[in-house]
Symmetry: C3
Subunit: 343 residues, 3 copies
């Protein structure tokens, strides 16, 4: 039995570098042998539950395909039809739900983002509560704090296009304008994981777009341990200069939850969209890219074209967005095979 | 070909005791050999349709997992997107729907409960209309009158924890307060099936919570035939005294449909919740359990904790709720294998 | 590798007669060997995406069952949860969606009908835009213009009941009253395909129910090339006289989209229903059928009984509606096997 069997994946920060490398290795193997790998039947007739508190197409498609390719089946579940107990309503406790689901399935994926929550961190708490009671692995399919599968898919893409040794290469994680009011999850996972694996990470955003302070502290510690650098800048020139990889993506401010509380989700989104629209320069375009070290362009998708990035860059020869999207499949197969595949 | 092949399961009352025992035997075999039983590929590439007129998480999870574990696939269908003919609207007849579905699949599960119906019994009629036209088995996934899969999962749990010979043991089916306004289906199936299989069944509820008179009459006949007893009491002491198994669960009054007609579903639920809240003693707790013969505690789930049962009892050493929930999977696999598996 | 591998199917008109015959041959083979054909595992662990812009039960059931029977899995996706870019909202482009989906799956089915569109032809354009960017086949699951799978299922039914040589036999495609405001897709596919394969096709409808002029032009060209006849009549006697196959079905007027623009979908439907109700004679009944050459009755389903056809005819000995419905499964398996099955 491998050491990852039974392990939850709520953020890559919870796993050792060795465990992450093992997962990436298997992801590359699955990519090379899509339907013919020895582990390719490791979910044979097993069930994986996918809980979508928030909808998603990409994540659902790639997780369901991953289970199918391993011989299993992923059930698409929307908790709106689930009578879970809450402060206001009678229903089932997370304990009971998790205990029972553990009897039916080999793993549970959960997606829960800002618009389904009242405060930042609630989603992470819910995943950890499920993990406490479930006797099968809980895998984040993106939640308010983290998005481990995206983080691993990113790294896989960088290694495909920039080589396995990324030590000393500069990743700039740069905020972008846009009207989609994005979650922090992919961005936080990216800076955590890449600072951990030894890249020099630059986080760039306008003032007011600060991320989770605890995540920032972990990034600093990660960089120190991996003998790399982590810095935060508010200037685009500084950000793009000599970058090897550019990851341009919009995200919301930390005030989003307050806006929702005062107004509602739609009101909060309007406020965020209005605010973001002021930063006209914050788009990844040919001019900014010309300052880099012929950088790769990456994005977790879906791309908000001509807001987060111009068509020219997104469709250009250094764009790896489709490969990164594909990698979600390989990475998720590897996670499933290692944490819940038959032994 | 086995005798159950092609048979509908709308209530266990429609099957012979021998057929039920055969199903339970196979359920235990599937439990012992979850992925390795000789029948474990008996739905190989076959389709089972699940029609959820009412939503459910547990039932959907366990049926879909059951089909997957047998090598088949259960399609999750919600009839809101189905243009069925009704008194008011043009659409497809049940005849046409059932005939065509019989061409695509090997079986059809249907769930339809109070809130989708106008009068008690309509759900049962719909299942029997489907059964009339379909050339493949119809299986109840809980309807207004019955819940055969739950009934069999209950019995399997009792046998796991109290031995196969339950003759003369006392099952108390006791009403409980709570805010979930439950269907009669699980409760009626339980008293029918256990009176049939020879337990001494005591049905306990406050006056006003009477169940379907025809079901009560069948329970009396079942008890007579199986040389056991069936009684109805309105007193908790009498109910719990010397019980071997306690099944505490809320259910609605027979006025629910009238309340819906006068008001609407939400109004009817409010009325039922208000009414149920008066019976403060009707909760399964340590004190009541101390009067029993060290009884097992069971419930079909999802449990409304601290209304139907205290945490102390539900999490205590005599609680079998998670095992019973798990048994849904094994029982449903056995039903599918016997009634629609390849021969 | 067969010549159909990788090919889109948006209408049968895009395929050669030879390709269509090859598909029909395989459909008959799948019918004869439902679970045992050599190609029956050709989607082994592969994913097929089904995009339902409009809901459907029959189409979903038969496509999902088809993928299951070939060893694969069809994901049921509703684009309401997909953030696609539109004129009004930020989101993902069709290019990005199609490119990424091509990384996860072996094929994509799309259903999009009138009520999800603003003008006739938009659905066809969307399918062709997907086909432009996807590197995997796009299959129409019915769209505003065409319904190729239904067309092939129809032909298969005719050959089962009237023999393989349909040359010179008369198919009457006759409009019927009814309250379901049907799409043009099945009807247009039917007249296109059968004029192509050599039947004498008569299209019959009241004035005002004209179909797409380009489709009509193609039908005329098809008939010329296949040395058969294509005619349009507005008289029921002329229509039914000496027919070998009667396909009676309601469809909307070409004004439907204008009605929606002026009013809304419900308003437009009311207008169409009111208009259609004037044509009391336009129902397929015993009297009209008595004028035919003992014709088969067919319909793509779901049937609007006693509007499109009487019970007597629909349940009569010459009705092939259930067989045609079943053929959807066989035909779709053949299309999948040939265009996206492993080679």
């Amino acid at each position: 039995m491998n050491s990852l069997y039974g392990k939850d994946l709520i953020t890559t920060q919870d796993w050792s570098v060795e465990e992450l490398e093992k997962t990436l290795d298997l992801s590359f193997e699955f990519k090379a042998n899509r339907y013919d790998h020895p582990l390719n039947n490791c979910l044979d007739r097993r069930t994986f539950f996918m809980f979508f508190y928030n909808p998603s197409v990409r994540t659902r498609q790639s997780f369901e395909a991953a289970a199918t390719e391993l011989g299993g089946h992923a059930q698409f579940l929307e908790p709106k039809s689930m009578r879970l107990k809450s402060a206001k309503t009678a229903g089932e406790t997370v304990q009971d739900a998790a205990e029972v689901m553990s009897r039916y399935a080999v793993g549970i994926g959960i997606r829960i983002l800002e618009t389904a929550l009242e405060t930042y961190g609630q989603g992470d708490e819910l995943l950890r509560e499920y993990a406490q009671y479930a006797t099968i692995p809980i895998v984040s399919m993106a939640h308010d704090r983290f998005h481990p599968c995206q983080g691993l898919a990113d790294v896989m893409g960088y290694r495909m296009h920039a080589g396995k040794n990324l030590k000393g290469k500069k990743l700039v994680q740069v905020w972008a304008k846009g009207a989609l009011v994005r979650s922090w999850s992919s961005v936080q996972e990216s800076i955590l994981l890449n600072s951990r694996l030894g890249m020099d990470v630059t986080l760039a955003h306008p003032k007011g777009y600060e991320l989770d302070p605890e995540v920032i502290k972990w990034c600093e510690e990660n960089a120190q341990r991996s003998d790399s650098t982590f810095e935060i800048v508010h200037d685009l020139e500084e950000a793009y200069k000599d970058a090897d990889i550019v990851y341009s993506r919009n995200w919301m401010t930390s005030n989003f939850y307050d806006y929702v509380a005062k107004d509602n989700v739609d009101g909060a989104k309007s406020k965020e969209i209005q605010l973001a629209s002021k930063y006209d320069d914050w788009i990844c375009n040919k001019e900014w890219m010309s300052m880099t070290n012929n950088a790769l362009f990456t994005h977790c998708g879906p791309v908000d074209r001509n807001a987060e990035v111009t068509d020219e860059v997104c469709d250009g020869p250094r764009s790896i967005v489709y490969d990164v999207a594909e990698n979600r499949l390989h990475v998720q197969k590897a996670i499933m095979a290692l944490t819940m595949g038959k032994q």
